[in-house]
């Protein structure tokens, strides 16, 4: 079972691309360095101010562009607990699930939360909740294939199982 979350909301707009998450010029650095540059081009202080358990809330097509897994991995390395967006770009979505970062689709999330709000995510009930008003919206439940990956903490966990079964 995935644990529930409570954290500060960092709000972003539509079409946030993976180049602004982790720019190509830092890609070959160690993750400790990469994560210091997350959102540098559009929100330079983000990586210093973000705290473990915080939640990203975004508009349409979050994570468009390059297939670099470094993008969700750097968000996870900064402690981001989940990303909730109106919609996701396909590869970012897959990658986030694959590294065990819940990527949650909720078409109405924009009206529920603003930057700086506190949000709660209840995975059991499939709800995202505004911490102050307690207003909530349901999110699209994960299909079994993804749930299995998230429960293993990422596809690497699933791969470990496969290797164990093989032996």
């Amino acid at each position: 079972m995935i644990s529930n979350l409570r954290g500060r909301v960092w709000k972003f707009g539509d079409h946030i691309d993976t180049d602004v998450m982790t720019s190509g010029k830092y890609l070959n650095l160690p993750m400790e360095d990469i994560k210091r540059h997350v959102f540098e081009a559009i929100r330079p202080k983000f990586s210093q101010e973000v705290k473990p358990g915080d939640i990203i809330v975004a508009g349409r097509n979050f994570g468009c562009g390059s297939s670099r897994e470094t993008a969700p991995a750097a968000l996870k390395a900064l402690g981001i607990g989940a990303v909730v967006a109106e919609s996701f770009a396909r590869i970012f979505y897959r990658n986030a699930i694959a590294i065990g970062l819940p990527a949650i689709v909720c078409s109405k999330v924009g009206g529920l939360l603003k930057d700086g709000d506190e949000a709660e995510i209840s995975f059991n009930d499939g709800k995202i909740i505004n911490g102050a008003s307690k207003k909530s919206f349901d999110f699209v439940p994960f299909p079994d294939e993804m749930l299995q990956i998230l429960e293993c903490g990422g596809i690497e966990g699933l791969l470990k199982q496969f290797i164990r079964d093989q032996r």
């Binding site: 079409h15 691309d17 180049d19 602004v20 720019s23 190509g24 010029k25 890609l27 070959n28 540098e40 081009a41 559009i42 349409r60 097509n61 468009c64 562009g65 390059s66 297939s67 670099r68 897994e69 919609s87 770009a89 396909r90 590869i91 897959r94 990658n95 694959a98 590294i99 299909p143 079994d144 294939e145 993804m146 990422g154 596809i155 690497e156 699933l158 791969l159 470990k160 496969f162 290797i163």
Partner: protein, 417 residues
């Protein structure tokens, strides 16, 4: 009910008679492509303790993004990848002299109609130019595929894009796809498959089709297809011994949406910073000075692209304030361009010829931008900071428009030079 190309391929590879959009399936992959991404993938494989890959003849690897390495760190990564290739006995490793992965896989005959292909690169869907269902995935998922040969897929809805009319001179397939992005936005095909059709697509060269399926990533697509035809068969002659059947959608296949465009009066198109759908026709662009012009990449670095640049620049010089980079997409393209005299002519015009590879497209190396610099490029993305400084600006266009701009030092209509 009839099936789309995507439904046919995902049905076959998941062992199901028929699949429907929205359904999740676990499919057997026909081919996996890895490039420099093999570095981080190798780390995952060794962390998990993977001793052998699922099928050493169904994995293709080569090095293109940071090639040749310009830092010791990159060189170390390349060393690590080469040793992993030996350890896993990967049959098709094209090393460091072949060019950009996507171009090379076509040239070496790996891309056949009807195949299910995954690549650790977002432009993998380019292979749909030959009727393959090809999708980009990340490092961790690729580690899983290299070990198991399987992956989950969501069966996508398909949209049909019918392109009618005839393309005017010096207007290219890049202009069509930029126009479509501008008109319908960068997420019009999100998580969907595209089937391109119509008289313009039928007449189109394979290279121009590749530009369209490649750039389909920029409008969100998972797969993008052209129906394979005689040109594909002709191209594959002598490049593969494998037999293959053609593939096409059923006449009564169900499409989520059908779009139709007549491109007979299309102007050259330019995508402004910082989004691929921020597109204007060249007549509305206004005076924009440039510092760099790039013709290259998996999107537009093929022979016809270099030929077009040379034709536009014939007898002219690169503007003294501009650095112009020509990056052939592969060694084969490079050699053919040498034989045709294209490169000699571009050198005389003052262009710099770089080695085949990804070059500065994703900000890796070889032509990065300083703050406030402006670049017009035939590559695929113009996101903030993509090709260097966060304070630089990228404009996307066809090789013809890039070449015309290189000469005049400002964004220029290639029909007026």
């Amino acid at each position: 009910m009839g099936l789309t190309i995507a439904e046919k391929i995902l049905g076959r590879t998941s062992g199901k008679k028929s699949v429907k959009p929205g359904q999740y399936v676990t499919a057997n992959v026909d081919l996996a492509m890895v490039h420099d991404s093999m570095g981080p993938i190798t780390e995952i494989l060794s962390r998990v303790g993977v001793e052998r890959v699922w099928d050493s003849e169904k994995i293709v690897c080569l090095l293109d993004h940071w090639n040749p390495p310009s830092t010791v760190r990159d060189a170390e990564m390349y060393k690590q990848i080469r040793s992993a290739i030996k350890k896993f006995n990967i049959k098709y490793f094209y090393g460091q002299n072949a060019g950009i992965c996507h171009q090379v896989l076509f040239e070496k005959g790996h891309i056949l109609p009807g195949k299910l292909i995954v690549g650790a690169d977002s432009h993998t869907l380019i292979y749909g130019a030959f009727g393959a269902a090809a999708a980009g995935i990340g490092f961790s998922e690729m580690a899983y595929v290299l070990t198991t040969g399987k992956l989950w897929f969501r069966v996508p809805e398909t949209i049909a894009l019918k392109i009618q009319g005839t393309l005017p001179s010096r207007v290219t397939s890049k202009d069509i796809i930029l126009f479509l992005a501008g008109k319908y936005s960068v997420d019009v095909a999100q998580y969907k498959a595209i089937e391109f059709s119509g008289e313009v697509c039928k007449e189109m060269t394979l290279s121009s089709r590749m530009t369209m399926t490649n750039m389909s990533a920029e409008i969100g697509a998972k797969f993008a297809f052209f129906e394979p035809d005689e040109r594909v068969k002709e191209y594959l002659k002598g490049r593969t011994n494998e037999t293959f059947a053609s593939i096409k959608p059923d006449a009564d296949a169900l499409y989520e949406q059908m779009y139709e465009e007549d491109v007979s009066h299309l102007e050259p198109q330019v995508a402004f910073p910082f989004s691929v759908d921020n597109v204007k026709p060249i007549s509305k662009v206004g005076p924009i000075k440039i510092d760099q012009a790039v013709v290259g990449s998996c999107t537009n670095g093929r022979l016809e692209d270099l030929r077009m640049a040379a034709e536009v620049m014939k007898g002219k010089k690169v503007h003294p304030d501009v650095r112009m980079l020509i990056i052939p997409a592969s060694a084969e393209v490079y050699q053919n361009a040498v034989h045709e005299g294209i490169l000699n002519q571009l050198i005389e015009s003052g262009a710099i010829i770089c080695n085949p590879g990804c070059g500065p497209c994703m900000g890796g190396q070889m032509g990065l931008l300083a703050s406030d610099e402006v670049c017009i490029t035939s590559t695929n993305r113009n996101f903030k900071g993509r090709m260097g400084s966060s304070e630089s600006e990228l404009y996307l266009a066809s090789p013809a428009t890039v070449a015309a701009s290189a000469v005049t030092g400002r964004i220029m209509d290639p029909r007026e030079i």
